[in-house]
């Protein structure tokens, strides 16, 4: 086996392999994982996060602007403290609201960020004050039945 | 210290666990000699070569090559010594993935900084010495047994060693190849000033070319001498070996119960 031909094939092989890896990383996967250097973190408290998981997207106007970095339970206020890691490129007013939404009817849950009107922007370690909990199906059904029962009783 | 003996072996013992292969070997090989070591299959001849080459360490006794005790050398010292030794393996042990030329050039490329032209000349010279300069571009798979062994010989002398060890160089060769190989061993030893230690059980070829012979049986040297002394020897073992007799000190029959009993000819049981 001629040495130069061999080297050529090995080179092609390695290039193809790296190309496959890049294809997987960029075209197949989402490499928009927001990393620590170009992001800032804010906290939002919820009474019920439903099925929200870490690494769930944070979307505003339907566009992914960040990821859920961490979810903790605050033992004193008995609330969930969710840390949102937002892309540094996007600044939101201090009175923006965070709601837990579901993509589609039964899809995975994400955080929808709706901008407020304040001229002062959110900085790192700030807290989003206006939050809306996840819609829990059981509560919804319970409310519906209760409402129906209420309608029925005064006769 | 210019000692006449290149290889000195004193009281050498070696074995695996309880199985002793060599019990007490005393042997010397002078510079420029062709020394043959003979004995039955399994008597430890190849083990002896491995001990000389440092691939095995003796249990007792000492092997000295050019004054250095082989068993006590560290890895670096061992490799240094081996660069001055060549070994011819039983079926050549050529590297099958490279050509004849590359095989002979292997040590030159690994151990020296010589430029390719110099290496080319040296390789062709060695191949010429064994008569295979025209086969330089063949692959080991295309060679006959005898040719492969000659290439291996060229490879063994590539770095002009002071000692060459031969493991059964005559095994399985046709009469012509036998003659060629024996002739080569003698000629190379004389022209290059080497010392050759040949392990073999080919008695006739060896008697033609060696200076001194040692016989090993049961882990010790049972006989030694020059070619003439051996030919004239009256020792039963040597006699049986040299004449190729079927029965003698080395019995024909493998140990077994009496023949009659095996065939149940005496006193049939129930």
């Amino acid at each position: 086996m001629n040495k130069t031909v061999l080297d050529l094939w090995v080179g092609l092989f390695v290039v193809a392999g790296i190309a496959a890896l890049l294809f997987l990383a960029l075209r197949v996967g989402s490499m928009n994982a927001v990393n620590a250097s170009d992001s800032y973190e804010v906290v939002a408290r919820f009474e019920n996060i439903g099925g929200l998981k870490p690494r769930a997207p944070v979307k505003s106007a339907g566009v992914v602007v960040g990821r859920v970095a961490d979810i903790r339970f605050d033992n004193e206020t008995y609330e969930a403290a969710v840390t949102l890691r937002l892309d540094k490129r996007y600044a939101f007013p201090k009175d923006s609201s965070a709601a837990i939404m579901t993509s589609g009817l039964l899809g995975e849950q994400y955080i929808g960020l709706e901008a407020g009107g304040d001229s002062v922007k959110l900085k790192a370690k700030d807290r989003i004050l206006i939050t809306q909990d996840a819609v829990v199906l059981e509560n919804l059904i319970g409310r519906f039945l209760y409402g129906k029962a209420q309608e029925g009783t005064p006769k | 210290m210019q000692n006449d003996n290149l290889v000195e072996i004193e009281q050498l013992a070696f074995g695996y666990g309880s199985r002793a292969i060599l019990k007490s070997i005393n042997l010397t090989a002078k510079r420029g000699q062709v020394v043959a070591i003979m004995g039955n299959s399994g008597c430890g001849k190849t083990t002896l070569l491995r001990l000389i080459g440092g691939q095995l360490k003796p249990n007792q006794g000492v092997v000295r090559v050019a004054g250095e005790a082989v068993g006590e050398l560290d890895q670096a010292g061992l490799y240094r010594l081996r660069r001055k030794m060549g070994m011819l393996f039983q079926f050549g042990a050529l590297f099958t993935d490279m050509s004849v030329f590359d095989n002979v050039a292997f040590q030159l490329r690994e151990h020296t900084d010589l430029p390719e032209d110099a290496i080319r000349d040296l390789v062709l010279m060695k191949l010429h010495a064994v008569g295979l300069r025209g086969a330089a571009q063949l692959m080991p798979g295309e060679l006959s047994g005898g040719m492969a062994r000659r290439v291996a010989l060229a490879r063994a002398i590539a770095l002009e060693p002071m000692l060459v060890l031969y493991d059964e160089p005559f095994a399985g060769l046709d009469p012509i190849a036998l003659g060629v190989t024996g002739n080569l061993i003698r000629r190379l030893t004389d022209t290059l000033g080497l010392t050759s230690i040949v392990v073999t059980h080919d008695i006739h070829e060896s008697l033609k070319i060696v200076d001194y012979i040692y016989f090993i049986a049961d882990g010790v040297i049972v006989a030694e001498g020059t070619a003439d002394e051996i030919r004239a020897s009256g020792l039963p073992f040597v006699h049986q070996f040299v004449q190729g007799e079927a029965d003698g000190p080395v019995p024909f029959h493998y140990p077994a119960p009496p023949y009659a009993d095996d065939l149940r000819l005496g006193g049939r049981g129930a």
Binding site: L21, G29, S30 | G86
Partner: protein, 262 residues
């Protein structure tokens, strides 16, 4: 009778443990003698050709077929939930997380692993390794270590190629053949496949598999009895042992990597 069987079992177990100790020592020796494999990288490149390039065809073709089957089967099942548009996610995640690294590893073990074992076994049986030793050249450094590193480098590349081909196969079947929406196929896939969690983990898996397979293949070759049956038995052992090792390691790694999904 029974006592004999127990004795045999005990013996075989002790032999197995002793052999494993020897194998670990061999592995450490390879690592320690790896300097030459890198300083004379040409040796490793040569082995990269024999292990990697020569495995390309089987990897690419198998990847394509596996991806196509995933496309078909996946569509069948997803259709019942009206979730055909998630076909891209199914194909991509199955391949990148599991099928790519594992199947590529199994194929590598049977093609390249057995070849390595046979080669080393044969070299040992024909005394080529001994000859090298007697020429003051360390056979582990010159013959064994380059093959090891070539295997470790080849494996993740082959796994990535397998996954990429598989996704392409799934695309061919799903989008071109069956008619799943092309945009949905790729965009849903992109949203669901995470670089760190899925792709990187897949790469880590394939590197671990590469180490395991190549080390086993080299050890079996080096330890094989120097006869024809010895080498052929060693080749079979390589394929069986490394395949089992890959599957076992896959379980361990998967449990480790994907347990924190909540």
């Amino acid at each position: 009778m029974l006592r004999q069987a127990i004795e045999n079992l005990g013996n075989r177990t002790i032999q197995g443990i002793w052999r494993m100790g020897f194998a670990v020592r061999f592995f450490v020796t390879i690592l320690l003698h790896s300097g030459t494999a890198f300083s004379r990288f040409g040796l490793t490149i040569r082995e990269l050709y024999f292990s990697g390039v020569l495995s390309l065809i089987i990897i690419l073709v198998s990847g394509l077929f596996v991806g196509m089957v995933l496309g078909l089967q996946g569509y069948e099942t997803l259709q019942t939930y009206g979730a055909e548009e998630s076909l891209g996610i199914l194909v991509a995640l199955s391949l990148v997380r599991e099928l790519g690294p594992v199947v590529a590893a199994l194929l590598f073990a049977s093609r390249a692993g057995s070849a390595i074992t046979a080669e080393i076994g044969l070299m040992k049986a024909t005394e080529q390794l001994s000859a090298m030793e007697m020429m003051a050249i360390d056979p582990i450094a010159r013959v064994v270590a380059p093959r090891f590193w070539a295997g470790v480098i080849s494996m993740p590349l082959l796994a990535a190629l397998f996954s990429a081909m598989g996704i392409f196969g799934g695309y061919l079947v799903g989008v071109q053949l069956i008619g799943v929406d092309e945009g949905a196929f790729w965009s849903q896939m992109q949203n669901a496949v995470d670089f760190e969690r899925d792709i990187l983990n897949g790469v880590i898996k394939s590197v671990v598999f590469g180490v395991a397979i190549t080390a086993i293949a080299l050890f079996e070759g080096y330890d094989a009895p120097p006869t024809a049956e010895g080498v052929s038995g060693a080749t079979t052992r390589t394929v069986v042992t490394s395949s089992l090792a890959v599957l076992a390691l896959d379980f361990v790694l998967t449990a480790f990597m994907f347990r924190g999904l909540n």
